[in-house]
Every structure is written in C-alpha cells, then in structure tokens.
C-alpha cells in the first residue's frame, strides 16, 4: 500500500523497486535502515541557510569574501559548515557582472550548502535554455539585467559546484549577519533572483 500521501494507491513500479533495492542491500549488510533514516533526516533539514550564512559573512567581512572567492570550500569549512565532498566556487555579482548557474548535463548543485535543488533547475527548459538565452530565462524569473551588465553563465559540468555571491542591497546598513542571511534566498544563490532589503 502506498500510504505516503495519505491515499491508498498500489505501489508504483519504481516505488516497488526502491523498497526492494533497499531491503536487499540491508539484508546483505551493505547499509542499515538507521543509516537511511539518518541520511533522509539530514537532507530534509538542509535548506538554503548554510549558503545564506556564507553570503552574509562575505557581505560583512571583506577578507572573508576574498578568501571565499579564492577557495570556496576552505571558506565554508572556516565557518564550521558540514559540507562533505563539496568543491565550491563562489562567483561574485558586481555592478558589471551578473552570474547564473546551471547544469546542462544533469542537475549538479551545491546540495550540502543549499539543500535539494528545485524542480525547475532540473527541468529541460532551464537546462537547455539557460546557457543559450540566459537573459530571456532570467526575465521569466522576473529579473531584467541591463544591457551594460555582463551576464555570465556557469555550466556545472564536472567536479566543482557553484554559488552566486549576490550584491548586498542598499537599505541594509548596520544589519546583523543573521538579518542579512534572512534576505538571501536559494534563488539568489543560483542567480535567478537578487536579494531585497524589504
């Protein structure tokens, strides 16, 4: 019975496969149910907060920002963030450059920093069009980039993972790091939105 969504439906072929695969692997001692549970809970607990905290620190500490841009992973570790297997490159938005991230080949994403990626990031329209017509794609997200600003698209094709370091908006003078982190959304760190002070 499929009770996951409160309605009784027969298990789909793939749900059957998941249960079967997991039970076989547990029976063979490859993993335990407890490990699966703990891993599910860990990923569930990861939203974009870790990423937002990195951005907020970079906004308030120029030397940290320089270290972040030089070695993204080391900078995350400096903040004590648990980011296993992450090789991070932070790309800096400036008045002259707007960055946006995509993985055309699959869905590579800095999961340990931002949580699971949104469905649209993994979709055909985003993966196929973001590299070719980024300005049109950004416009669909409500973001209009002026002509004089360079749009830089990063295709996450290999071992590195990316976050966009958005520009700190005006009207946030004197804000605490915590308050600043609160306006840095996941979409800002992918590059399809910019933070707003409101």
């Amino acid at each position: 019975m499929n009770e996951d969504n409160g309605r009784y439906q027969p298990l789909s072929y793939f749900q059957l496969m998941e249960i079967s695969l997991r039970e076989l692997l547990v029976e063979k001692g490859v993993l335990t149910d407890e490990q699966v549970r703990a891993t599910v809970d860990d990923m569930r607990s990861r939203g974009a907060e870790r990423g937002a905290s990195v951005v907020a620190r970079a906004w308030t500490d120029p030397q940290f920002k320089a270290r972040l841009l030089a070695d993204g992973t080391k900078a995350c570790q400096e903040l004590g963030l648990d980011v296993p297997a992450l090789r991070l490159i932070a790309v800096d938005n400036t008045p002259a450059v707007h960055n946006v991230i995509v993985c055309t080949l699959c869905s590579c994403y800095p999961r340990m920093l931002l949580g699971l990626p949104p469905e649209w990031y993994k979709s055909r329209p985003y993966r196929s069009r973001a590299v070719r017509e980024p300005r049109a794609v950004l416009a669909e997200f409500g973001l209009a980039i002026p002509d004089h600003v360079q749009v830089r698209v990063h295709d996450s094709t290999a071992d590195m993972r990316y976050i966009v370091l958005p520009m700190r908006p005006g009207g946030t003078e004197g804000w605490s790091e915590e308050r600043l982190a609160g306006i840095v959304t996941r979409d800002c760190m992918i590059g399809v939105a910019v933070p707003k002070a409101a």
């Binding site: 590299v131 017509e133 360079q150 295709d155 094709t157 290999a158 071992d159």
Partner: protein
C-alpha cells in the same frame, strides 16, 4: 607510475575544445565542442569521469579547467550583451591549444 597529468594550460591561454563525438559517458557538452575560449582558472586534477563511469579508477587524474567563452562566439543568433560569457569546466584531454 605518475598518477596525475601535469597542467598544460595556464589562465589566459586560448584553447579549442576538440571536435570529437565518441561513445560513452562524457562531461564535455555537445554545444561546446569545437568552440574556442580562454582558460579562466585551473581547478585542480581529478579522476576522469569517462572512466569512473565504467567502474575504472579514472587515473591518472587529469587537470580540470574552467574555460570562458563569449556567448556571441558560441551561438550565432545570440541575443544579449556583446560581452556575455559562458564558463564551462573542461578536462585537459578535451582541449587543444588554439
């Protein structure tokens, strides 16, 4: 046996992505093959994904680069800024000097 190939390119070098369409698991996107760009940075050396996908160890590790391309060079009909750029991670064995 040396387990890592030495980087052949440095930031600023002009490189061309090889025009090859072999079978197997490849992380050099179709759209960038044959394009010319410049090395933005050396990312380090990593085991080759083409080999890892086949249960082999992918050694010797190959240098991985971020290569910067101008959008107007990659797409003939590009609608956007003349300086808009596209940056792609490409392994050394897919690059030739340009």
């Amino acid at each position: 046996m040396k387990q890592t190939a030495q980087p052949s390119f440095r930031p600023g070098d002009r490189v061309a992505v090889r025009k090859a369409w072999p079978l197997g698991h490849i992380r050099t996107p179709h759209y960038i093959r044959g394009q010319v760009g410049s090395i933005e940075r050396v990312c380090g050396s990593f085991p080759v994904p083409e080999e890892l996908a086949q249960q082999r160890n992918g050694l010797p590790a190959q240098p991985l680069y971020r290569v910067r391309f101008l959008q107007r060079d990659v797409w003939p009909d590009y609608q956007g800024g003349a300086n808009d750029a596209l940056e792609v991670e490409i392994f050394q064995h897919w690059l030739d000097p340009a």
